[in-house]
């Protein structure tokens, strides 16, 4: 029985470490695309964490909304930015000095 508790604690600790590492890198990186991919990975890991604290509904919502739909939305916005950057247009934020 204590075996289960110990292993569970190890698992929780590893998930927490992974989350912290993902979050740190997510905030530090200067590559927007990498940040988006890290955000998706973070959402999936966070869903695992919600499972571990016994909140499967939030895990479901996090996986579907946080990782799936938001990730797709970010990729979409990234694509728009990149297309504009690739063309000769100036970015909206550079329009006014």
């Amino acid at each position: 029985m204590t075996d289960v508790v110990t292993t569970g604690l190890l698992l929780d600790g590893l998930i927490a470490l992974l989350l912290a590492g993902l979050a740190f890198r997510l905030l530090r990186t200067r590559d927007l695309f990498e940040a988006i991919m890290l955000f998706v990975a973070y959402g999936l890991t966070l869903a695992l964490a919600w499972i571990r604290v016994g909140a499967p509904d939030i895990a479901l919502a996090e996986a579907a909304l946080g990782a799936g739909v938001t990730g797709a939305l970010f990729l979409n916005a990234w694509h728009r930015l990149a297309v504009r950057a690739g063309s000769d247009d100036r970015l909206p934020m550079e329009a006014d000095p």
């Binding site: 200067r30 590559d31 927007l32 695309f33 909140a55 499967p56 509904d57 479901l60 919502a61 579907a64 909304l65 799936g68 739909v69 797709a72 939305l73 979409n76 990234w78 694509h79 728009r80 930015l81 990149a82 297309v83 504009r84 950057a85 690739g86 063309s87 247009d89 970015l91 934020m93």
Partner: protein
């Protein structure tokens, strides 16, 4: 298989020796958002001071969190367990969200509707229905189309079924309308990104009706039960389960439609339209979207 590569020719495959690879591409990137080098960072001293300032803030937050964790009213779980049979559902979370605290969920869906309206106000009314001509230029769909449609045929019905299942099970198991709606929205995003389905713009009346249906269902139900129970959103005895199930279904569909509407601009992305940029972005975009499309059948964007 060789289609995409031959159509773009060898010129696209810009060879870059591995030596300059880490720095070379960055230098030519014109967008500061996509990849920046820290030019916009503040002075180093300021950043250090900020970091130092954040340490006590973090400690304070941790202490506050520790205090808050212990101050939960210990009677709440028992109260919920005691009154759960009255809610008509056996999942305590659904019971709280749709019965005890129904107005909470009502405000949640209202916030989502407000977000959707905000996105609509950014939509510049460019409506080229059907697959944009330039979609394949950015997505390279030509080679992948049979594969893409195969996975769509598999994933979209499965997602739909799972969403129905999640809504249905929400009364007894940890699941519910928001999760089902998000999953349904995932299927919708898949369809719209693949170019099969174009998210309808603000002009489409059915979209408005369905998106407002979540809020409207709540408000109408809440008022309709007033003569029987005397309180807003207090369901009459025996009616709780069917009412909750109906509200959940309306919510799931509304959430899905609203989330897909956030992608309303998707198909027009590759066809960046200079003419639309010239239009005053602050001048009543919804009104323009409602006006008849000047060239609805024109698949080519300038």
């Amino acid at each position: 298989m060789m289609g995409p590569s031959s159509s773009h020719g060898p010129g696209v495959s810009s060879p870059s020796p591995s030596g300059d690879a880490p720095t070379g591409p960055d230098a030519s990137s014109p967008s500061p958002l996509l990849r920046d080098h820290g030019e916009r960072d503040g002075p180093p001293l300021l950043r250090w001071l900020l970091g130092l300032f954040l340490v006590p803030v973090g400690i304070l937050l941790a202490l506050g969190l520790k205090g808050a964790a212990g101050s939960r009213d210990p009677r709440i779980p028992d109260l919920i367990a005691k009154h759960l049979p009255e809610t008509g559902v056996s999942n305590p979370v659904t019971g709280v969200l749709l019965n005890f605290r129904g107005y909470d969920t009502l405000l949640e869906i209202a916030v989502l509707v407000a977000a959707m309206v905000a996105v609509w106000s950014l939509d510049r009314g460019q409506r080229h229905f059907g697959l944009p001509a330039s979609a394949s230029a950015s997505g390279g769909a030509g080679g992948g189309r049979p594969f893409l449609s195969a996975i769509l045929r598999l994933a979209v019905p499965t997602a739909f079924l799972t969403a129905v299942y999640l809504t249905w099970m929400g009364s007894s198991e940890p699941a519910g309308a928001f999760q089902a709606g998000a999953l349904l929205a995932g299927a919708g995003v898949l369809l719209s990104v693949a170019g099969v389905l174009r998210p309808l713009t603000a002009a489409a009346l059915p979209v408005r009706i369905v998106a407002a249906g979540g809020v409207a269902g709540f408000v109408v139900t809440g008022i309709a039960v007033l003569p029987f129970t005397g309180a807003f959103l207090a369901y009459p005895e025996g009616w709780a389960y069917p009412l909750i199930l109906g509200l959940e279904a309306a919510l799931a569909v509304a959430v899905a439609v609203i989330l897909v509407e956030l992608f309303v601009d998707v198909p027009s992305i590759p066809a960046h339209d200079a003419a639309l940029d010239a239009v005053d972005p602050y001048g009543d975009p919804l009104g323009r979207a409602l006006a008849p499309d000047p060239s609805p059948a024109d698949p080519e964007a300038p």
